[in-house]
């Protein structure tokens, strides 16, 4: 338990991925095997069943510390976490224990179905043998989630580093079905419970942004044009009767998208499809913000399925009849794809349409309508091209439409990292809302070094307040902010959030009273929904 408590602390204190991975690797090197299995379970959302309600924990803590309820609430609002508040309120432990993490979990498991008196005795005893930070973990095991910023991907990378096994294989293993009470660590990471050969994805082929006019690419007849969709790039793998959905982040997301599970009966074995996971209704693509409601959830309820139905727009086929098909020219792959997918008319799996145009001018004209169908522009793929691994210049281009823009004023500045560590390079921007300024975005790229120096000197001269590394500055500098989309957001004061905001240019010609208003953005939001 001590080791695990220490791991949690290390993970919480660092916001550098490398430090977090190092802490995880170190943990997996030395921890008990059974504990390791539970750590993987906890971090991937396989929580043990709660044997005790958290209201009871609070009640018992209040009772033994004789804290008035209102004072408990005051404390809770300062600490911000129930498990931690209880851990801090309790008097120092009188006994010690060397129980390991898995032992505590097993003991808690055994409490299920017992009466409240038995549970209370166990909990009070436990509290009296654990140090404050262990108590916090213990309470979390019963009542909460570990929100410590460890993604599945990070966990898998750490496991791969520690075990020298392939990370895709480990990802498949831990995303599969397993019982943490029974499986051993070695069985788990070696994927004894799953056939990892079945799930194998291919590296995605990625495109560069088109820098010149499309005419420079030669005749349009050598190219296939498609809409560029704004969703989650995904790969669907069907082998030996099993179906897997991978996201571009190399995460296995099969469980998140039940709408696509019917493919297990439709697709022949030995097929791998490349495409885009999108929010889709009546064959129309919905906004990215709708899709977002479905992302990174450990469970999905009926309402979410109804509010944000998803679909898969298929781009390409990488494996067919168990053969690696990537060296075939795009034109051939497309033919097979049409045969295979073209018939799925009423399903959420849709062949991403090819745009047929006679000339570049015609295509350029069409491109301007991208937004009306929630597309972000056009993809150009050479008909003779193979399916490359990763990003390669020449065969695939993305030709995106111009972003949305808004004029906003800078109100906070923070120093950057790396080469820009000495300068204020990370800015927070606000728009007007009546008399007030309300923040809408944080952005850090898009200025030249010379401009950065200029802004930096403004910040040092006009800092009003300091909060840690952040400076509040006089709202004076106006910037044009480009962004790709806009979504409702309860987390932001403005009630909306911009997607991919970045600085387009410094509007030295504008004053702070000429910036956009929150109402302008609300209008835009309405028009995209």
């Amino acid at each position: 338990m001590k080791r695990f408590a220490q791991l949690i602390q290390q993970l919480e204190l660092s916001n550098k991925t490398n430090d977090k991975i190092a802490a995880l690797v170190n943990y997996f090197n030395y921890a008990d095997d059974k504990d390791k299995v539970w750590v993987i379970a906890l971090f991937t959302g396989k929580k043990p069943k709660r044997p005790i309600k958290s209201a009871l924990l609070k009640y018992w803590a209040i009772e033994i510390t004789q804290t008035p309820e209102w004072l408990f609430s005051e404390s809770y609002s300062n600490v911000g976490d129930l498990s931690e508040t209880i851990a801090l309120l309790l008097p120092p432990a009188e006994n010690t224990s060397d129980f390991q993490l898995h032992k505590w979990i097993e003991n808690l498991h055994e409490l299920e179905g017992k009466d409240d008196e038995t549970k209370k005795e166990f909990i009070l005893n436990a509290w009296n043998t654990l140090e404050t930070n262990e108590r916090f973990i213990f309470n979390k095991l019963i009542s909460g989630n570990f929100r410590i910023g460890v993604s599945n991907k990070m966990l898998v990378n750490a496991l791969a580093k520690q075990s020298s096994l392939d990370s895709a294989q480990i990802m498949h293993s831990i995303m599969g079905k397993w019982n943490p009470y029974e499986i051993t660590f070695n069985e788990l990471i070696n994927g004894i419970h799953v056939n990892t050969d079945n799930s194998w994805p291919y590296p995605f082929c990625l495109a560069y942004a088109l820098e010149n006019e499309p005419e420079t690419l030669g005749s349009i007849s050598e190219w296939q044009a498609e809409w560029k969709w704004d969703g989650i790039r995904g790969q669907i793998v069907k082998r030996n009767g099993e179906l897997f959905i991978w996201s571009r982040g190399e995460e296995l997301v099969t469980e998140q998208f039940p709408e696509l599970h019917f493919l297990i009966d439709i697709l022949p074995d030995g097929v791998v499809l490349d495409g885009e996971i999108l929010a889709v209704q009546n064959k129309q693509v919905l906004s990215f913000s709708t899709l977002q409601q479905r992302l990174n959830r450990k469970t999905i309820n009926k309402k979410q399925l109804e509010d944000a139905p998803i679909g898969f727009f298929v781009y390409d086929i990488l494996e067919y009849e168990t053969n690696d098909f990537r060296e075939q020219p795009l034109s051939e792959r497309r033919k097979i794809l049409v045969q295979l997918i073209g018939g799925l008319n009423e399903s959420p799996v849709i062949l991403s349409p090819v745009i047929n145009c006679k000339s570049w001018e015609e295509l350029a004209e069409l491109r301007l309508t991208s937004r009306s169908i929630n597309s972000e522009g056009i993809m150009l793929k050479k008909l003779s091209s193979p399916y490359h691994s990763g990003r390669k210049r020449g065969d695939w281009w993305k030709w995106k439409i111009n972003p949305y823009t808004v004029d906003a004023v800078m109100i906070y500045a923070q120093k950057g990292s790396g080469r820009r560590a000495n300068f204020f390079t990370d800015y927070t921007f606000a728009v007007r809302d009546g008399e007030n300024l309300v923040t809408i975005a944080k952005a850090y790229s898009g200025l030249t070094d010379k401009e950065i120096k200029e802004v930096n000197s403004f910040v040092t001269r006009n800092a009003i307040e300091k909060f840690g590394p952040v400076r509040t500055v006089k709202p004076e500098l106006v910037f044009e902010i480009a962004f790709e989309g806009i979504a409702q957001s309860k987390r932001h004061k403005a009630g909306l959030a911009l997607r991919f905001p970045r600085i387009l240019r410094w509007r030295k010609d504008k004053k702070a009273d000429e910036i956009n208003t929150l109402e302008d953005l609300r209008q835009l939001l309405k028009s995209t929904l």
């Binding site: 204190l13 911000g80 801090l88």
Partner: protein, 342 residues
């Protein structure tokens, strides 16, 4: 009639015609300790502890008119007997005891109960009314013994040294810095920022026994610093100088580090719950020991702490003061200085 009243300028004793830690200029300012939220520029006369005198002269101005008292000593002003008792907060910090016609009031300033080895240890003083801070006046703030915390800091430092990282502790120049120096001294050299070295000089000249430290100068190599302990004031935290050290890792020593949310917000590499203020238990013990009939609660969790005292049979009132804003003050001053030098 009460011995003290809370006015716009600060805590005022009408019978004696003087203020305690006023925040606007007055004729006669009794000063509990040298932190900037308790002692300001512009008073005609200052009365403070002997050790506080050179500190405030250094920090505010050499020209201050300062009278001093040792702990246990007293003077009479307009019939009010003023005496000082150790507050245990920082070097020279004093509780101010006022006595007039048998009525006793104690203004404690900032205080902590645990003996930190460098500030004279807190002494409870019997009184009728007591003015207490409440910086950590919630029951979730209960400190571990300082030996345990210092063991943690020491093992953090030695781990850093083996991993080729440079250990940087963030601490106020006055108070926390000396406490760290006193308790961390050993085989590992301690390097201190100029502002700390300057105050150390003052304190050593005043006769305090402070372990040896090394003032950071451009001649000291990164390699040397990596093998030592570096102590700098909060304003240096995000400085280029720190970023340029070899694998710098920062540790914050503050009572707020008790709580995860505060630790994360600070984005330091390590947080150690080490405070110069009394914790919940300390506040309660101190108040009980005074036997006071009336307790005035100033800066901190005033509402909650005062309500708890009232519910437990100790008459209490919240008082709004300008204490507890030291961090902001120091930062603003330093910010201004930085701007000037650029």
């Amino acid at each position: 009639m009460a011995l003290i009243e809370f006015t716009k300028k600060g805590i005022y004793c009408k019978q004696g015609d003087f203020y305690i830690d006023p925040w606007w200029p007055v004729n006669y300012a009794v000063t509990t300790h040298g932190h900037s939220d308790h002692v300001r520029f512009g008073n005609k006369y200052y009365l403070c502890h002997t050790l506080t005198k050179p500190i405030i002269k250094r920090r505010i101005s050499e020209d201050l008119n300062v009278e001093t008292l040792d702990y246990g000593e007293s003077i009479v002003r307009n019939g009010v007997n003023i005496s000082f008792f150790p507050a245990g907060h920082i070097i020279g910090s004093a509780q101010v005891r006022l006595e007039y016609k048998g009525e006793i009031c104690v203004v404690s300033g900032d205080y902590k109960i645990e003996d930190d080895g460098i500030s004279t240890a807190f002494e409870p003083v019997k009184c009728h009314s007591f003015v207490s801070e409440s910086t950590f006046g919630l029951p979730v703030y209960k400190w571990q013994k300082q030996d345990i915390v210092f063991d943690k800091i020491k093992s953090w430092v030695s781990d850093n040294i083996t991993q080729q990282k440079t250990s940087i502790l963030i601490a106020y120049s006055l108070g926390k810095a000396q406490r760290l120096i006193k308790n961390l001294t050993g085989n590992i050299p301690i390097y201190v920022h100029n502002s700390i070295a300057n105050l150390n000089e003052v304190i050593i000249n005043a006769g305090v026994n402070l372990p040896e430290t090394i003032r950071i100068t451009p001649e000291i190599t990164k390699d040397e610093l990596q093998k030592g302990i570096v102590i700098v004031p909060p304003v240096m935290r995000d400085s280029r100088w720190i970023k340029n050290l070899s694998h710098p890792v920062t540790g914050i020593c503050s009572g707020w580090m008790q709580v995860r949310a505060h630790r994360r917000w600070q984005s330091a590499d390590a947080g150690f719950a080490l405070s110069d203020h009394a914790d919940w238990t300390g506040l309660m013990d101190a108040i009980t020991a005074t036997g006071a009939e009336k307790v005035y609660v100033t800066h901190g969790f005033t509402a909650a702490f005062s309500r708890f005292l009232n519910d437990n049979g100790i008459e209490s009132a919240e008082v709004t003061t300008k204490f507890g804003q030291e961090d902001d003050e120091e930062n603003k001053v330093d910010l201004a200085e930085q701007n000037e030098t650029k």
